[in-house]
């Protein structure tokens, strides 16, 4: 009898697979959409374009502006599930590419919603392209141009500053998620990009992406400055906690009290404020 059940089951599934059509509804105006964003940069740009109040929920990396974090949260990266997003009844979803898991992407595409994916910008040029793209989507190209002009201006100010200060200090970026989980950023990371912008040379050479921090490696690299996310510093217990990490306390940067903390999204988001953060960083390493 169980065989009969299994047989029925197989039949039902086969039949059901053919009923995978979705229903269509009228498309709504973009301007009155309920939007869910996934990815801090996108959230920031949407807000800067003036549509921040259309966002009904967002993810954990969307920390700018601060009010975004008081909205319902859909989670982080591949912990985000499709039904969770849908339960908040959006009609538009804007997400970073490669941020949500593939299955969730497929499931969202099956729903009758506007779902858009955007490549995360890896340098200011791409930032401007993303701003333009989003501005077009929201049908406000002129605001987009304004933002891009602002970015260009920030970069020019940065350039001017750097041309007056020839010194090129070295630094290393440390990603920390608690004392047991520490990584150093190598080439092809946002750290390299932002350091280059700020006229800082990478103390970490010869490897790509993030590599676990070993006690000796940092001392060998001997950066003049250590840069961390504020959240990373906090997870280590602040500067006091930092002193307990093997490898960091022996480094020149720590001993000369040259440890810098920045808001995670601000530093790595490559959003509209990229020029501003680069300038801040450039000044911070040239203050002494």
């Amino acid at each position: 009898m169980i065989r009969l059940l299994l047989g029925c089951f197989l039949t039902v599934i086969t039949l059901a697979c053919s009923s995978g059509e979705k229903k269509t509804i009228d498309t709504k105006e973009v301007a009155s959409s309920n939007i869910i964003t996934a990815g801090g940069t996108i959230t920031e740009i949407v807000y800067t374009l003036g549509f921040g109040d259309r966002i009904i929920a967002t993810d954990r990396t969307s920390t700018y502006p601060v009010e975004m974090q008081s909205l319902p949260s859909v989670g982080y990266r591949n912990q985000i599930k499709a039904e969770g997003i849908l339960s908040l009844v959006p009609n538009m979803i804007l997400a970073e590419e490669d941020y949500l898991s593939e299955d969730v992407v497929n499931q969202l595409k099956l729903m009758d919603l506007e779902v858009h994916f955007f490549k995360k910008p890896e340098n200011p040029e791409e930032t401007k392209a993303l701003v333009t793209e989003l501005a077009t989507l929201f049908e406000v190209p002129e605001i987009g141009k304004e933002i891009n002009d602002g970015i260009a201006n920030d970069l020019k100010v940065l350039d001017d500053y750097l041309s007056q200060h020839a010194k090129r200090p070295s630094a290393a970026f440390v990603m920390a998620r608690g004392p047991e989980t520490l990584f150093v950023a190598g080439e092809k990371t946002f750290a390299e990009t932002i350091f280059n912008l700020a006229g800082i040379s990478m103390a970490a050479q010869g490897f790509k992406d993030f590599v676990p921090l070993t006690p000796e490696s940092l001392v060998t690299m001997s950066p003049e400055y250590l840069v961390l996310f504020d959240s990373g510093l906090e997870s280590l217990g602040g500067l006091v906690g930092l002193a307990n990490i093997q490898g960091i306390k022996e480094s020149k940067a720590f001993q000369e009290d040259q440890v810098l903390g920045f808001d995670g999204h601000y530093l790595s988001g490559m959003g509209p404020r990229v020029g501003q953060v680069a300038l801040e960083l450039a000044k911070a390493v040239r203050n002494k």
Partner: protein, 351 residues
């Protein structure tokens, strides 16, 4: 324990048990359809289900229908397949190893499957995007290969023709779990591809990736070996007395062993490749069947399929409603249920 004294009523009892379990399963499925992050009422469920057949009900609502049919229903069906598969595979393994403490997770078959699945995704990343159909078949089959190697390894390391050797089997499983776990971690550490999914996915399981295009192959590769196992129930009964005795009673022991090992490895391999490792289902469910209705595999095996489907669906229901809009990994739920159960079993064995 219900101990029927007449063969006649034992058959009737078996049928009643299976029908009841089937009814409970249907009940749990309906319940699961109405629960989840996205609120869908029972009338909306029914409306959504009959709409494709041409009946339009007032309660029909587009978004809830989409969520139900595209996200929730495939997920529930996947839970039936994986839960049922793990249940029946666990029951068959216990019969094969003549040991009630055996289950795919404990003896390393799940982790062996997961390892091969991860390795497949690393070595052949292109296949996933270029040939989706090929990936849908080759990933589960490669995973099956990993499960097969593990189960044969455990069998040869641990199982013994004459005497019971619980310790060796479990130890062999521990060794394989450790090795496979380390290799999975290593592979995920160095490979940087979102298609690999996370360590949490593999080690704690996740049903949220269910979709209609994954189901048919999964259904085929789980139901067919399940039917094979069902047909081997009689032989499993004989094997319970020992391989030698089974031979004396006319069972072709080697052929039966191979068929059982291959079928269970296939079920586990396919399940793991789709949902990661979900532990303890294969341990709890056959036990519940045995202590309630006796050790006859002709009832334990089909009952374990149904009960496993019920258990996993119920666990998934908890997993996706406890922390809305986030989800708890399902392995956490099954472990919270299963580990104390396991400890209880060990305690009982001592007596």
């Amino acid at each position: 324990m219900i101990a029927p004294t007449l063969t006649f009523s034992k058959q009737r009892l078996s049928q009643w048990v299976l029908v009841s379990l089937g009814a409970i399963l249907v009940g749990v499925l309906l319940l699961s359809l109405t629960k989840g992050a996205y609120p869908i009422s029972l009338s909306q469920v029914i409306a959504a289900l009959v709409e494709p057949l041409g009946y339009h009900l007032e309660a029909f609502e587009v978004m809830s229908a989409n969520v139900l049919l595209q996200i929730r229903l495939p997920r529930i069906l996947l839970a039936v397949l994986v839960g049922g598969g793990l249940g029946i595979a666990g029951a068959a393994m216990q019969g094969l190893f003549r040991n009630p403490l055996v289950e795919p997770g404990l003896i390393g078959v799940s982790s062996g499957s997961a390892l091969f699945a991860v390795v497949f995704l690393v070595v052949f990343p292109g296949i996933a995007s270029s040939f989706p159909i090929l990936e849908r078949v080759s990933l589960p089959l490669f995973s099956f290969l990993g499960g097969l190697i593990s189960v044969f390894a455990v069998y040869h390391l641990g199982a013994n023709k004459e005497s019971e050797n619980t310790a060796t089997i479990i130890l062999a499983g521990v060794a394989i779990n450790a090795l496979a776990g380390a290799l999975i971690g290593l592979t995920l550490f160095y490979a940087d591809d979102t298609a690999l999914r996370s360590f949490t996915f593999w080690s704690l399981g996740d049903l949220s990736g269910a979709s209609w295009n994954k189901l048919p192959i999964a259904a085929g590769l789980i139901c067919i070996p399940s039917i094979v196992l069902l047909r081997g129930s009689k032989n499993l009964n004989a094997l319970a007395l020992g391989e030698k005795e089974a031979f004396y009673m006319g069972v072709n022991v080697n052929r039966t062993k191979v068929i059982l090992l291959v079928s269970t490895a296939l079920i586990v391999g396919v399940a793991v490749s789709l949902t990661g490792m979900i532990g303890f289902v294969g341990l709890i469910v056959p036990h519940l069947m045995r202590i309630s209705f006796g050790a006859d595999h002709r009832l334990v095996l089909p009952g374990s399929f149904l009960l496993g489907a019920i258990l996993l669906n119920f666990s998934d229901l908890l997993a996706r409603t406890i922390a809305i809009p986030a989800e708890m990994p399902i392995g956490v739920i099954t472990s919270l249920l299963g580990a104390p159960f396991f400890m209880g079993l060990i305690y009982n064995l001592k007596k």
